[in-house]
Structure formats: structure tokens, C-alpha cells
Symmetry: D2
Subunit: 336 residues, 4 copies
């Protein structure tokens, strides 16, 4: 069977290799992969200078496939079922522990850009039936991060207002999930076209922050001066000051990304006086994933897939993601 | 009756004045004040350049007295009872709203450095019987902030470790409350003598950060590498980076003060990966105050009072607070 | 001005009386009532043998009107605004205290079946603009109970399943609110016609329990054997055993009514083994009411009004409610 | 190696048998058992008519031992460490799922009344070092149930009052844990001697309910009429009505046992009007166990051990437990 491995730094170092199809251990399942979806993290892992463990790594955390063989002690999953691997294989439920950080697919452990993958039966979840493989492949990282931010550490409810930043994976899923839950969504982006598409997806209003950089004031206007209930932060210190101003007294700010870098001053005094909660959110547990899937299934929610590349062109998929031209997920089709 | 009023900027502008004893409105109580306690905020209000509202203000938020008259519609309080005013007169329970910010004693509203004060019956709480007046006077601001941080937005439990910074009012109350709840307390200070006194109060270990500035590493050592469960932050951005390093995965950092100023970079990426919660805490509601008082009463907890000044020497009390030599609260005795 | 007063036991003892229009106290508002809505409680207060306080009572808790005068210290409300009174005038936010029970409109205090009413400014909330007066009048008791049950003590989320019992006020609002929040709703009723109307409102499935009394088994079937996430109980001990069987492991059962009487055995062992939460829910606080109104406004949700009676025929409205033929709220129009 | 097995109904059917020492699987540990502790459940499993699965079962859920061998993939535990097995082997963290019910030691799975036991590495926890083996053996079921009740589903805090019923395992641990957390404990018992011992352990007051059956009124008196914050229920429907009366408005009642049988009426209306929460509690997860152990270790808490029997006399230990004469846990010493 074929799988990609990372040989060194740079997209060109992701190469297609061959090895015998693995067999599952006693509590493992063998999955014939159907599709994988890229995250910005996948790009960072190959693009920047990185830990030793990258060398030889099978990349990519997110994917879906069909169980084709199960170990002798497997009870949670059956042959023929369609499953996603979980981003953090070790985090089942409750709180995350230090050891769980060593179990991330496509980083600390081999990922899913392969024709066959073996995972622990506790490291997979069943996938809503209405989804195509391309759609299902997108759930493990960005979708779960958004769900976790809004409903697990966050407290978003019907009637509340959620602000999302840009139209990356976490932000678009946050938009879709917040809508499911009866919340109103404000979106900022540097592209009018992307704003238009976000509004098509259900956002109540959008602002082009390259033309109107004071999006915090805009968010206040959009909420009659009171501020938004929840900000899904993806920028880091560079955007946090505005997020703090945009939030209502007692509001939540989920810290899900630091795309704009990690330096920069934060107006801590406002966190105090506004009694805000800044909540670090790192993907999520298998139990959260299952709760999310129930919502995805009940609403037949469709993740936004931008482009699909064939397995042999996975490197092109990386390049396209790197261009930042996408709106929605970039997917690799592995098998029919 | 006599009361202090702030005439302008600077401690010297706090002057003793005279006016007729007020009468309570229908839902108000008239309180004969017994003692008042100073907070750093009281110093800041008179010392720095400030809003117009300072002029003519009766200063000081914290105090205790005896109800000597009640309005015709008062039902919560009776003549002869001993009560504290609440810091935020408007915040009864549930979440704080914007209008509540306009109801802070000794700031937005006249405070308690006076022989008689009238307050709404909803703006007072009964005081545990075992406390002296000097002790009871210290509860409204610093104690409630600590209680709110640990148990209302925070989740401190028996067996957990709490880190406090310095030995100011909030920190010492946090030490005492955390101990009540079965938690272990680590303390940092720039004074060996103050560390010793904190240990006498029940702290498990202390570090002099002027000699050993890497108190984050020390906190990790003290918790077998896992980090503390809760940090009660009083410093702001200057200390926050170390607090973030000192906290365990999934830990809480209460933001209760920005004594060291509001500039400075914050390692937001660590908030994300460690899934920390930064929780802004601003004093608390009357219902929180009542819950705290039940704990104070049940344990006959004694607030730490450093020095008591007579009413006529209130300005000296301000000066002593300004010297930062104190350990515990600085109190003004108003009446026997 | 005219108002109804209860002279004794029985619907016929609700009589129209006259008195001068009251004036608001300093912190009160005078409301010109537009519409009032009946709850089963209103019927019980006049129909059963009851406490002394009934005699002379202005009945009915739920209504809406226009503020026509405000007291000198009123700041939360302005003349011309449309407001509902809160069911429990004393419960602003946080937890309910014993004294709050003495502040229920149309029971412990005079209600709103009157042309003019004075209420404390803290005892009113602004009303979403899209609602007719008849619709707005229905919010204070049944709607708030449903909101409180699902989202304040309950934890209903997108993708979950909620079971409602019958089509009374609380149940229909629970149906509508659960749908807003992305949940799926199962409904049981003794009337096929009412089931049909509940399905028109968005329920996923319905069962006629007079034909199929084992609705607990049906609920399990409808959830692939796992059980529903939340039951909104209105029946009391008579229905609780089935609710407990219908709930999933770790599920919630809101106890909002005991329509079927208070005797009867409860399978407590199943509460233990299934780790259920039985949550007593009694109307709600003003802050909850405001959160609910934000959701009602954002979604332009329309309460279900069955029939509207003119003010002079209020007694007929009581009779119609007593017939149990209604689907949705029974309203009295007080003024144009 | 020797182990007990249940051959049929009745204590006499627990017989000592012999088989080769087992070897751990890849992710298992082999534990040389040191001590086991009995729970009422162990008595019920052998005493009453029961499911088929009893036959051949190694009984008893609670015990402690030393890890003497580990499987090739074990990373959480090392040889030489002292561990307890978890009651529900499958429940690691987060919420319990249906499959976890099939993983209870000494019931659905072979228990620990044996010289050697193999368990999954996820099914064991490290044990506080200050405990004797006899003490450590008592933690898995009763202690964890009490911890879960008070602090995981419950919200017990410093200054609150907790009522416990009798002096069985769950009740005594609830007493000790509530004290750790700064709460006040009321205890009822049918034995003056046991009341005296509970007071020695820190209970604030006790009542002999065989002489004074109206313990609900007593609990109200002990709380100045307001009611207790938390009742740890062990009796079931027979005691629940009084627990409901003894609880404060908004209080919690943990349902941890139904010792007095499962029939009987429950005053559901009071659950509603008092806004109580009835919370089913069934042992707990491994993560809860670990949190509990941190508290036990930090306070060097000592479980109450009544009597210790040698391994060969395990059946006598069952008999003694059946006599209900004990105060604290009945333990079997398995190895030195």
C-alpha cells in the first residue's frame, strides 16, 4: 500500500512511499482511507523548522475511511463502518492530560495520508451517514475545535451573538455550529467575496477589516453597544485587544489559534473590569467529537469543501492551502 | 455628623467635613459606621489624576456599622444589626450588568468614611458575629474578590494547589479561603518576613521572588512538575507570562489586579495549548458576599488586620497603606 | 380604572371592580395593561380551596402593557416602553431566596388582570418588538419555565433530543425553544389533532399515549435505544417513572409541574444507576427572562395563542382554559 | 495462586480456589494483591438471587496491591508501584456510557479477592503513600461515590452544611471529605455510639433517628430554618421525603443508595417549588478517583477501618459486614 511520508523541510519533501499493508493489533482497527483534509497545522509541520520527529512521519491528522479489519478484542467498531480518527488519540473524555499531547495524528504519531491506517478502537468515531467522504474527512480538527470552543468550554446559546475572525476552517465551522444553536454570527474578513460567502452560509453581517480595521467598534454597533457574547479568536495577541473590546461584560473569548503570531500586548485590565473569560481550546476529546457528530447528523450539516485533489496530487493540495485562496476545506481523495 | 470628603488630588485633599445626619429613604437603612478598611483602590482614587466625580466624594468602599434607622419599606434588615455595605451596590446576584459599574462605593457613589451612611437595604449584608468591627470592615472588596476568584468563577477544591502573588489584601484572603477549602497554597513575595507570616497563616511554601525571580519554575517543582491548579493574578501582564507557565494544563488564572501596569506581551499560544482559563474577576455580588460570610462564620476566620487608626487620623492610614510596609489590612476606627 | 378581583372560591367569584388609577412609587412604573394570558395556576388559585390571601386578589401573573408613568428614581424603564411584569417580582438574578416566594404576581401579590398596574422597575422586562400584545402577554410564566428548564438548569444542545409531555404552555414553549437551540423534539399527547399541530410546530415525532401508553419504550425506539437527553416533566410522580425510563444515562429531567397529582412511587434506584439529574424548576429570574427575550427577538419566535377574549369576558377565558380544549395560550385583551 | 470464587447463592458459596498465576496482556498489569475491602454490594451479590454471571465470579471490587509485571505496551504504571483497581474499569473520564456498566469489578468482571489480578493499565490508579494497605483498599467504591456526590455532580463549598445518613462507607467518607472542603456535617444514626464516633470524626451534630424520627425538622433547626445545602441520600424513597424537607431551597440531594428499598412515594411537588436537584451518583471515573486521591494525599486523610480479617477468613469478613455492627470498613488482608 502507498502512503506519504515527510522526509524533511518543505512541501516538496512529502513523498509517496510504499510498504506492506499493516495488520491491526488486538484492540486496533485497520482502516482503508477514503479521504483526508488539510489544516494549516499540516502546512506548518512541513514548512517550518521542526522537531526531529517530523522525519519519516505520515502527515495529516484529518481523514475518513472504512474499517476493513478489527483486532480480536475490538468491541466498539465493526468491519464495514465508516470512521474518522481522532486528532488526539489519547483524549477520550474528561480533561486532557499531559500524556495526551503525545498522541496527535500527523504530528506526534503517524497521520492518515495513507491508503491504510491502523488506529486504536478508542481513537476512532463513527461518521454521520449523510456526509460524503470528502466532507466527513474535515471533522477531526477544525470542526471539533469550533464545537469545543462554542459549547464545551463556551456557553453559546440561542439569541446570543458570536464573532468569528476570517473564514478559515475553525471560523467556518463556528459559523455553522453557532447557527445550529440559534446564535447570530458576525464575521470579519479581508475579502469581500469571502464575506459574501459567509453571509450565504448564515452570517448576519460581515465587515472587511482591511478597509475598516476598527472591527471592534463595528461589533459594538451590531450589538446595540453591548458587545458580542462570544469571540472565536484565531489571531492571537494581534487581534486579542480588539476582541476584548468587542466582547460584552462577562463574555467569552475562545483562544483557538495564534495565526498572527504570539507577540504583542494584551489589555489585561479590561479582562478584569469586563469580567471576561479567555478560554484556551485545543481540539477536543472523543466524547466531544461524538456529541458534535450527533448535531452534524441531526441537522445534516454540510462542511464547506473548497477543492478535492487526487491522492497522487496531495502536494498540490498543500500548495493550494498555502495560497490562502481557499474558502472551506482542501481535501485529498485517497480511494473511491 | 462628620465625614471625610475628597477635595482634589492627593492624600492631603481628604478632609474632614460636617453635615446633618442623613435620614434613610423608604427602602434604605441608616448605618452608624464603626470601622472602615482601606484598599489600594482608595489610594489610587485620591492619588492619581482622575475623573471629575472624585471631587466632593466620600471616600472608601469597605466598612461596617450598626443599623440605627430603617425606611418604611425595609424588610431585609433590622435596627441594631451589624452590616457591611456591598462594594457594588447594584449587583445583587447573577451576572453583573453595565449599570452596576455606576454603583461602586467610594468611587461612583459616596463611600463609608463617615460617621453615618445611608444605603439601600439591598446594598448591605449581615456580618459574622465573631468578628471585631475592625475585622468585619475588611470584607467588602478584597475578601470578596478572593472568594469570587477561587470559588465562583474558579473551581478550587480540596487537594488542589493555589498560587498567590504577594501579601496584599486579595492575596491574603485567597490564602485563608483556599486553606478553608482544603487547598494547598504557594506564596511569592519580595520580603522574607512577609513570607514567614504567610506561612504562619497556612501557606505550604514561599519563595522570595526578588532573590529567585523564576517563581514559575519553583511552582512547577512544588507540584512535581504538573503546575498549580489556580493562580490568583494581581500583577497583570508583567506577571501573567510566569503565571501561565506556573499553571497546570487546564488550570485557572484569576485576573484580579494589574498592580504592575497594563502593558506587556502575553504568551497567548500557551493559553491555547495548555487549555488555560483566564478569568476576569471584579469584586462580586451580594449573593457571593453572603456565601462567603457563611464560610467566614462557620470557620470563625479572622481577617488579618495590620494597624488601626482613629477616625481623626484617617489620612495617616492612607499614608501607611501607601508605604507598602503593611501585612494585612489598614483600618480606620470610626466609632466605639 | 377597572380591575378584576377574586372574591372567593370558583371562577364566578372573579369580579370586575373599579378603583382610582394608582400612582407609581419612587422606584415604580405605572403600566397601562394591554393583554393578559392565563396559566393553569390561575385556574387553580380560584378553583381549589385556598389560602386567605386569595380574597381580594387581583388575579393573573402574565401580561404586557405600556409604561405611562415612572417614579422619580426609575432608571431602567421609560415612558412609552412596552413591558411584561416578572412572575416573581423579587427574583432578579442568581439563586432564588425564600423571600422571593412572597412576590409572585396573581398569587402572593396582586396580578395583572387590570387596566392599570404599578410594579417596581426591577420587576419588569422589555418585550421583543415583533410580538403582538397577545403574544407578549404569554411570556412571564410558561415560557420562562421552559427556558429555565432547558438552558439554565438544563444543558440542552444542538443535536440532542428533548421529550415534552402534552401541549400545555410549558410544553409548547419547550418545543419551540428546543428547536431554536438545534435540538430534536419528541411529543406525547392524548389527542391526534394536537400531535399534528405540535409536529407542524417542529416536533420530530409524536405519540398518542392514550392509545399507546408505553411512551417510554417509544422514546427509546426514537433514540436508537439510548434514551432522550432531556425530559420536560409536567405530570409529577404519575409520569416520572416513565420519564426516568425514557431518559438516557446521564440525562436530565426537569420537574416543572405535577399536573397528575403528587402521590406515587418513584424508581429512585434508576435515578442512581442511570446517573440522572432531576431538576426542580420554578419559573425563573429576571435575568433569565431577559436572556430568553433575546432569543425570542433574534428568531422572531411567535408564541402560540389559541383564543383571545375581551376584557369584559375574562371569566369565559378561565372557563375555556378549564375545558382543556385549547392548544396554546388563552389570552385576555385588556386595551387596544 | 489462590483466589476466591462464588459458586452459588449465599456467603458459604464463596470458596477459595487455586489456579496458575495469570500473565498480563500487552496493556495490562499484574498486581499482587495486598488487601481488599468489602462493600454492601459484595454482600448483595452473593446473598440475593442474582444473574447467571455470578457463578464462578471472583468477588469484591475494592482492593490494593503492588504491580509485579507490566505488559509490553504499558506506560502509565511501573513495577513496584502500589495501585487500586477502579470500580468501573471502562470509565476513564467525562461521562459514563452504557458499555461502562459491563466493566464493574466483582460483578460484571472478576474482582480482587485473589492473590494476583490482571487489569488494564487504564483501570488502575496510584495510591497515596501515607495510607496502609488496609486503608488504601477502601477507596475504589464508597470513597469515590462520596467524592463524586459532593464535588463532581455536587457543589459543596466551605461554609455549607452537608447531611449524611447513617455511618456506612459512603456516609463516613462523605463526612471526612466534606470536612476537608470546609463544610459542616450533620449526621443521623440509630446508634448513639456510632453518633459519638461520627462526632469524633468531625461531625458538628448528630441525631438518633430511632428516638427522634423527625430528623428533617432537626436539620432545619440546625440550619436556622434554612435547610442543609446537600444531603447524601443512601436510603432511597423511604428517606427521600425527609431529605427533601431537610434541604434548603436550591439545594442538592445526591442519590447514592437505596438501602431501604425502592418503593415509596416521593413529594415531587417540593422538588419543583424548592428547585432542588436530585442527582444520581454511581461510583465515578478514573479521573475523579485521581482528583480524590490528591485530596486524600494532601490531607493525609485516613479512611476508617473497623476490622481486618486474614485472607483465609474472608467469609467471616462477609458475615461481620452482614451483622451491621461495624463502623467503618471491613477489610481482608491478602498478603503482607
Amino acid at each position: 500500500m502507498r502512503e506519504y511520508r515527510v522526509r524533511g523541510r518543505g512541501i516538496e519533501q512529502i513523498v509517496l512511499t510504499e510498504r506492506p499493508t499493516p495488520r491491526p493489533g488486538k484492540r486496533q482497527v485497520l482502516i482503508r482511507m477514503k479521504a483526508a483534509a488539510l489544516n494549516r497545522r499540516d502546512l506548518m509541520i512541513v514548512s517550518s523548522s521542526l522537531p526531529e520527529r517530523r522525519s519519516g512521519l505520515v502527515p495529516v491528522s484529518d481523514g475518513v475511511g472504512e474499517v476493513v479489519e478489527v483486532g480480536s478484542e475490538v468491541s466498539r467498531v465493526r468491519i464495514g463502518e465508516r470512521v474518522c480518527g481522532t486528532f488526539l488519540q489519547g483524549w477520550q473524555g474528561g480533561h486532557m492530560v499531559d500524556a495526551d499531547t503525545e498522541t496527535a495524528l500527523g504530528g506526534e504519531r503517524d497521520g492518515v495520508l495513507a491508503e491504510y491506517v491502523t488506529l486504536d478502537e478508542r481513537g476512532v468515531v463513527h461518521v454521520p451517514g449523510h456526509l460524503t467522504d470528502e466532507e466527513a474527512a474535515t471533522l477531526p480538527c477544525a470542526a471539533l475545535t469550533a464545537w469545543h470552543a462554542l459549547f464545551e468550554t463556551g456557553r453559546v446559546r440561542a439569541g446570543q451573538t458570536v464573532l468569528i475572525q476570517g473564514t478559515g476552517g475553525v471560523s467556518l465551522f463556528a459559523l455553522q455550529f453557532a447557527k445550529l444553536a440559534g446564535a447570530r454570527v458576525l464575521v470579519i474578513s479581508s475579502s469581500d467575496e469571502k464575506l459574501g460567502r459567509a453571509i450565504d452560509l448564515g452570517a448576519a453581517a460581515g465587515l472587511n477589516y482591511s478597509r475598516s480595521p476598527e472591527w471592534d467598534l463595528w461589533a459594538l454597533e451590531q450589538t446595540a453597544g453591548s458587545g458580542v457574547d462570544h469571540v472565536v479568536e484565531v489571531g492571537g495577541p494581534q487581534t486579542l485587544a480588539r476582541s476584548i473590546r468587542a466582547a460584552r461584560r462577562g463574555g467569552d473569548i475562545s483562544v483557538t489559534g495564534v495565526l498572527a503570531g504570539d507577540g504583542g500586548a494584551v489589555p489585561v485590565k479590561s479582562i478584569l473590569f469586563k469580567q471576561l473569560r479567555l478560554l484556551g481550546v485545543f481540539v477536543g476529546s472523543r466524547q466531544m467529537f461524538e456529541a458534535m457528530n450527533r448535531a452534524v447528523a441531526a441537522h445534516e450539516l454540510r462542511p464547506v469543501v473548497d477543492r478535492v485533489y487526487p491522492f497522487e496530487s496531495a502536494v498540490d493540495a498543500y500548495r493550494y492551502l498555502g495560497s490562502a485562496a481557499h474558502f472551506g476545506k482542501v481535501v485529498v481523495r485517497i480511494a473511491a
